[in-house]
């Protein structure tokens, strides 16, 4: 009976004035990302049909660009060991991959970047409100990452320019606190590329933020990636780090 009453009150709340979709998206972004330069550790555990395939461990350094406000990322590989020390630089659609064994900085396309696990970092370190126009598509109670029913707003995000990985995203945000609950990421042709559940919220840099994202491949639902983030810290990321010519010099102190 208490649950029924709760649902009733929730529905009544949802029935009130519709919130601004773009503001909801910005609030959700602020929960996923601090609005400043930061670093974090990222562990990706990959499964195929229930079997663990391997783990990728990354350190991510992010700095908001002064013009677009979008994050520029420097990603360093710690594991698997065959990739240890490799770096990826992402500055919008400008992408460079550096291998310390060959000393080569190779320019890669956004499509090529999607081949690697580092691309999954996008579901975390992206300021969606900067690149997408949000539309409130409905109010819905869905199961969240903890399998709890949660009142949410369903937002449909349409890319406002071409320099994005996913042209369209459907995002569910918590009606009570704007926390991201679930995202579905689509290709140009409308194909579902991945589904992400944001969960295990923990206090990080003063805000309850998701510490785990469960990513399900759109074509192969048996391909699952569990992405865990930790050691989120505000950090000065010098402008000079975020360019190709710095990659051979990068070393964390």
């Amino acid at each position: 009976m208490r649950n029924a009453l709760f649902t009733l009150l929730l529905a009544a709340g949802l029935a009130q004035a519709a919130p601004d979709a773009q503001q909801l998206l910005a609030a959700s972004d602020a929960i996923r990302n601090p609005g400043q330069s930061f670093s974090l550790d990222n562990t990706l555990i990959e499964y195929r049909n229930g079997r663990e395939q391997g783990q990728t461990q990354l350190q991510i350094y992010a700095r908001p660009a002064s013009d677009s406000g979008q994050y520029r990322n420097l990603i360093r590989f710690l594991a698997p060991l065959r990739d240890a020390g490799k770096l990826m630089l992402k500055n919008g659609n400008e992408l460079w991959f550096y291998d310390p064994a060959s000393k080569a900085s190779v320019r890669i396309s956004p499509q090529q970047r999607l081949l690697g696990q580092a691309a999954n970092g996008d579901v975390m370190t992206v300021n969606l409100a900067r690149d997408y126009r949000a539309r409130l598509d409905g109010e819905e109670i869905i199961q969240d990452g903890e399998r709890q029913a949660r009142a949410s707003y369903r937002l449909v995000l349409q890319a406002s320019h071409d320099d994005v990985t996913y042209p369209r995203i459907t995002l569910w945000v918590d009606a009570a606190n704007s926390r991201p609950i679930k995202g579905q990421f689509y290709s140009d042709s409308g194909r579902l590329l991945k589904t992400a559940y944001y969960r295990r919220f923990q206090l990080q840099l003063g805000v309850q933020r998701p510490s785990e994202t469960v990513i399900i491949d759109g074509l192969d639902p048996g391909w699952i990636t569990v992405m865990r983030t930790g050691n989120l810290a505000a950090r000065d990321i010098p402008e000079a780090w975020l360019q190709r010519d710095y990659l051979p010099r990068f070393r964390v102190e």
Partner: protein, 397 residues
């Protein structure tokens, strides 16, 4: 909202929530509940051990290590070394290559100074880099016909390097002294003669152009060497294609030391395309203006051929004027962690070809690769590799 509408919501919404979480998604969440992270310590020392065998040959291997250590804030020490072992193949049983050994001082976030043996890389192409003026610094153990292998495993050059970084680009100067007159083939020699036979210098700059255009500029020279300007550019075209090119030129004779003393260009034009199915394809056109003309190349044979090939090899330049280079890399080919690669080099002067196909199964810290390569063309052609298989096992630490 009327009371009966609330009542409707009471019934419908929980049902909708049940339907929303599909079975696959619920399974994924359950799997994630049991996931265990295995953190990897951040070590300054990494390396690779490889044991391999070519068809009709003996087992061989190598051990490579790379140390990148922070001595104190702003000061790094870098050491890269490779030891090739061929205990049964005849000739030296081992050949050591001290590839890099230098100190790097980050004087400020934008200014860095390096001193020691450094292997600098310039250019954007995969098969051949006209901007790579240090390409002839010495490869002590040639183990593969893949040009990337020769580039990665060569000796660095002892030099002083200064670099000023700014937003979107950098400027730099590299100064290399002469340390020895001749190469030293002794197995454990640092071989300063291969890397620092003459004084050389390089000025370089990079900049962001309009849109996705990125450029690198270079001017190089040295004792007894003509000035060599060069430029490289890369561009993103659409979501899946990168276009790139690089060129340099200098006044010189041809590789055989003959021909007119005139401006001769090295150039590459290429493109790389990645499909949604994890297949990356690259194609490049290579031009070497210092190579013999097609007619002169066609007449080479016997001792002259061998001597000219050696001169081209020492200069680390293609032996002929024009080649095509194709490369394909297919990740998760047939099964997860299995990579299939193909490399094809086609000579436009004599229509000889080199092909290499590989399958590589990768693990957390190991890999097993099976390769087959073969050449096709006339005797005394550019690519004369006999058909052979190779099995290689790698272990990473």
């Amino acid at each position: 909202m009327q009371w009966h509408a609330y009542l409707l919501l009471l019934v419908i919404l929980p049902l909708a929530a049940q339907a929303e979480g599909s079975t696959a998604e619920l399974d994924a969440l359950a799997l994630a509940d049991s996931a265990v992270s295995k953190p990897q310590a951040d070590s300054p020392l990494h390396g690779q051990l490889q044991l391999s065998r070519w068809q009709g040959s003996h087992w061989q291997g190598f051990a490579s290590v790379r140390l990148d250590s922070v001595l104190q804030p702003g000061l790094r020490a870098v050491l890269a070394n490779r030891l090739d072992l061929r205990p049964l193949a005849g000739g030296p049983a081992q050949v050591n290559s001290l590839q890099e050994a230098y100190l790097s001082w980050q004087a400020s976030p934008g200014l860095a100074l390096d001193v020691g043996r450094i292997n600098p890389r310039s250019g954007v192409a995969r098969g051949f880099n006209p901007l790579d003026v240090w390409r002839d610094s010495g490869l002590r153990a040639a183990t593969s016909a893949d040009p990337a292998s020769a580039r990665d495993n060569r000796l660095g050059v002892v030099m002083l390097r200064a670099q000023q970084l700014r937003d979107g680009g950098s400027i730099g100067v590299l100064l290399a002294p002469a340390l020895a007159r001749a190469a030293n083939p002794a197995p454990w020699s640092p071989d300063w003669g291969s890397s620092n036979r003459r004084e050389r210098w390089q000025l370089q700059a990079s900049a962001a152009g309009s849109g996705s255009l990125r450029t690198q500029w270079l001017l190089a020279g040295g004792a007894g060497e003509a000035l060599q300007p060069g430029v490289a550019a890369s561009l993103l075209w659409g979501d899946a294609t990168t276009l790139y090119g690089e060129a340099s030129a200098s006044r010189s004779h041809d590789l055989a030391g003959g021909g007119a003393h005139r401006w001769r260009a090295l150039a590459v034009a290429g493109a790389s395309y990645t499909t949604a199915g994890k297949l990356t394809l690259a194609a490049e056109y290579h031009h070497n203006g210092r190579a013999l003309s097609q007619a002169a190349w066609g007449q080479l044979s016997g001792r002259d051929y061998g001597q000219y090939r050696q001169q081209a090899s020492q200069a680390a330049l293609p032996a002929t004027r024009q080649q095509l280079f194709f490369y394909a890399d297919w990740q998760d080919f047939l099964r997860p962690q299995l990579a299939a690669t193909a490399l094809l080099r086609h000579d436009l002067a004599d229509h000889s070809r080199f092909t290499r196909l590989s399958l590589r199964q990768q693990g957390e810290r190991s890999a097993l690769a099976l390769s087959h390569e073969w050449g096709h063309g006339r005797p005394f052609g550019h690519f004369t590799t006999p058909a052979r298989w190779q099995l290689a096992a790698d272990w990473y630490f």
